[in-house]
């Protein structure tokens, strides 16, 4: 007899996880209790669902079962130990409410937001925020997360434990947040999701340049957030941006894992379905006329996605959008990216003049020297270009980045050897985190 296919249960449990853990956290105000209760509820689902079929609302089912389990546990323990504080088991009346209790969407919404928000603790460095969110919200195993970050399982385990300890002691209010507080949480969480994506889009270390699972997880989290806050233009923009960037993933590396820049990518490999959804979201967001950084970045990505061929790219509009982005979030990295558009519209000299003042602030930034080298090369200033590329290699984050710059250096070498004129068709490396490769 063959085993029946039970992957649907797995998918349902994964899909319900943020809601369920978020709700259990609200009841028990303790992350470990919430996670343990969720685990137990999953085990029971694996026993019951194959026999009874899926419940109509899997999340509500899991919350009830998890809640009852944690309560039983607490009662069992109280027989041996002294009673826990009321703080520890909050809302006892609420917990004992009948199974039919309506869990309305707005409550779910704040539960999930809170769960994401506690991962964004300011004391945690970015990578730990990401790791924690992947563990707690997405439910990836420590092993999976360790693999994504290319560290040992033991090291990741330690990192997550430490991060958990910090957030457990943090004072996150469990009451429903007010509107300004909610907006602030939303912005913090959005930028954390963006970090998850960036970590996957351009890995911060090691041999692997793109980590697709991290990108996909970020997209899933952005979708979740937008479902909870469907009218938020910036969350639409965030999801659109991630979809439009990730759509190019199949074309970004060649068979030998070398970086393929936007202009040289095989555009037939781009994921059209993701692009269509991204474009739809950009359209929808821009209708609101409340512009924000994610929307602008998504609009830029949309212009790239819409160009059938590289030469069809509307660089003029991209330049204008970068100007808007600069006014919203003044950052040398944004200006660096704008310079790439400027080089297309007004030539490499203008672009170079634009980035020279950034040299001080982007002194340790790989892409600054990549772009600078590219511009100098276009201008035939090969010695200076070589110098910039050497700096870039020293600052490269991944093997693929270093290899890519080495390719430019090789071209310069050839040019030097044959004493040809300055190459005018050399491609530019563009800057992260909104790189267009």
């Amino acid at each position: 007899m063959t085993q029946p296919d039970l992957t649907w249960i797995d998918t349902a449990l994964t899909g319900a996880r943020p809601q369920v853990v978020g709700a259990l956290l609200r009841y028990f105000r303790n992350l470990d209790t919430a996670e343990e209760a969720f685990q137990e509820a999953c085990l029971r689902a694996l026993q019951k669902w194959p026999v009874n079929g899926p419940p109509r609302d899997p999340a509500a089912w899991l919350i009830m079962v998890g809640r009852n389990f944690a309560l039983d546990e607490a009662r069992r323990k109280t027989k041996q130990q002294e009673l826990p504080d009321d703080e520890v088991i909050s809302n006892l009346d609420d917990v004992e409410a009948p199974l039919a209790e309506r869990l309305d969407n707005s409550q779910y919404r704040d539960d999930v937001l809170r769960l994401l928000f506690i991962c964004c603790h300011p004391e945690l460095p970015n990578t730990q925020q990401i790791a924690l969110a992947l563990r707690i919200v997405s439910g990836l195993t420590v092993k999976e997360i360790a693999r994504a970050f290319l560290v040992s399982e033991a090291a990741m385990e330690q990192r997550i434990t430490r991060a958990k300890r910090i957030v457990t002691n943090a004072d996150v209010p469990f009451e429903a947040p007010g509107a300004p507080e909610r907006a602030q949480r939303l912005a913090t969480v959005a930028s954390m999701i963006y970090l998850v994506f960036n970590e996957g889009y351009s890995a911060s270390g090691g041999e692997v340049h793109v980590r697709v699972p991290l990108c996909e997880e970020a997209i899933r989290l952005a979708r979740l957030l937008l479902q909870l806050f469907p009218a938020e233009g910036e969350i639409m923009g965030l999801l659109a941006l991630l979809l439009l960037q990730h759509a190019r993933a199949p074309a970004r590396l060649d068979a030998n894992n070398n970086i393929v820049l936007l202009e040289e990518q095989d555009r037939s490999l781009w994921d059209r379905k993701m692009i269509a959804e991204g474009l739809a979201l950009v359209d929808k967001a821009l209708r609101q006329r409340r512009v924000g950084p994610y929307q602008v970045q998504a609009a830029i990505a949309a212009l790239h996605a819409q160009a059938q061929r590289p030469e069809d790219t509307d660089w003029k509009q991209i330049d204008q959008l970068y100007a808007v982005l600069e006014s919203l979030t003044a950052s040398p990295v944004v200006t660096l990216n704008r310079a790439v558009a400027v080089s297309k519209v007004a030539g490499p000299e203008a672009a170079l003049a634009m980035i020279e003042p950034l040299a001080g602030r982007l002194d340790g930034y790989f892409h600054f020297f990549g772009v600078r080298g590219g511009l100098l090369m276009q201008l035939g200033r090969n010695a200076e270009a070589r110098e910039a590329f050497d700096r870039a290699i020293a600052l490269a984050n991944t093997a693929a980045e270093a290899a890519h710059i080495r390719m430019h250096l090789d071209r310069l070498q050839e040019d030097g050897a044959t004493a040809t004129a300055a190459p005018s068709s050399t491609r530019l490396a563009t800057g992260s985190p909104r790189r267009t490769d």
Binding site: T7, W8, T11, A12, T14, G15, A16, Q19, P54, R56, D57, P58, A59, N105, R220, R223, L224, L226, Q227, P230, A231, M236, L239, A276, E277, A280, L281, K284, R287, Q288
Partner: protein
């Protein structure tokens, strides 16, 4: 009689599908579509983008335009088929073949359509 077969499922679940899984589900649907089309009974088929892309327009003294789907439900409308069937029985049979991934299919007779099916109708798919 023309029937609509309307597909509902939890978006949280559908959005968690891997690309391979999604492709496999679409391939299953394509196979059933081919079968119905071979009998000349298949009308338009549509899969809708996620509800996060939806905009709802409600009439009133002034039109209200809302970001989001028409109704917030646990299970979202994912897509639909129009199928020309002899009986409800036959429509339910097709719906069963399509509903192999959890979720639910609602079968509802069509009151009006600008599509005519039958001998000449739907060989073009």
């Amino acid at each position: 009689m023309l029937y609509a077969i309307i597909c509902y499922d939890s978006e949280a679940v559908v959005n968690s599908w891997s690309k391979e899984k999604d492709d496999a589900v679409m391939a299953d649907h394509q196979a059933v579509m081919a079968k119905i089309a071979a009998r000349g009974k298949l009308g338009p088929v549509a899969r809708l983008m996620p509800t996060t892309t939806a905009t709802t327009v409600r009439p009133g003294r002034q039109f209200t335009v809302l970001d989001g789907p028409f109704a917030e439900t646990k299970e979202a409308l994912l897509g639909f088929y129009l199928v020309d069937c002899e009986s409800l029985e036959e429509a339910v049979e097709y719906a069963k073949q399509l509903a192999n991934e959890g979720g639910a299919m609602e079968v509802r007779p069509v009151m009006f359509s600008n599509v005519t099916l039958g001998k000449t109708g739907s060989d073009a798919q």
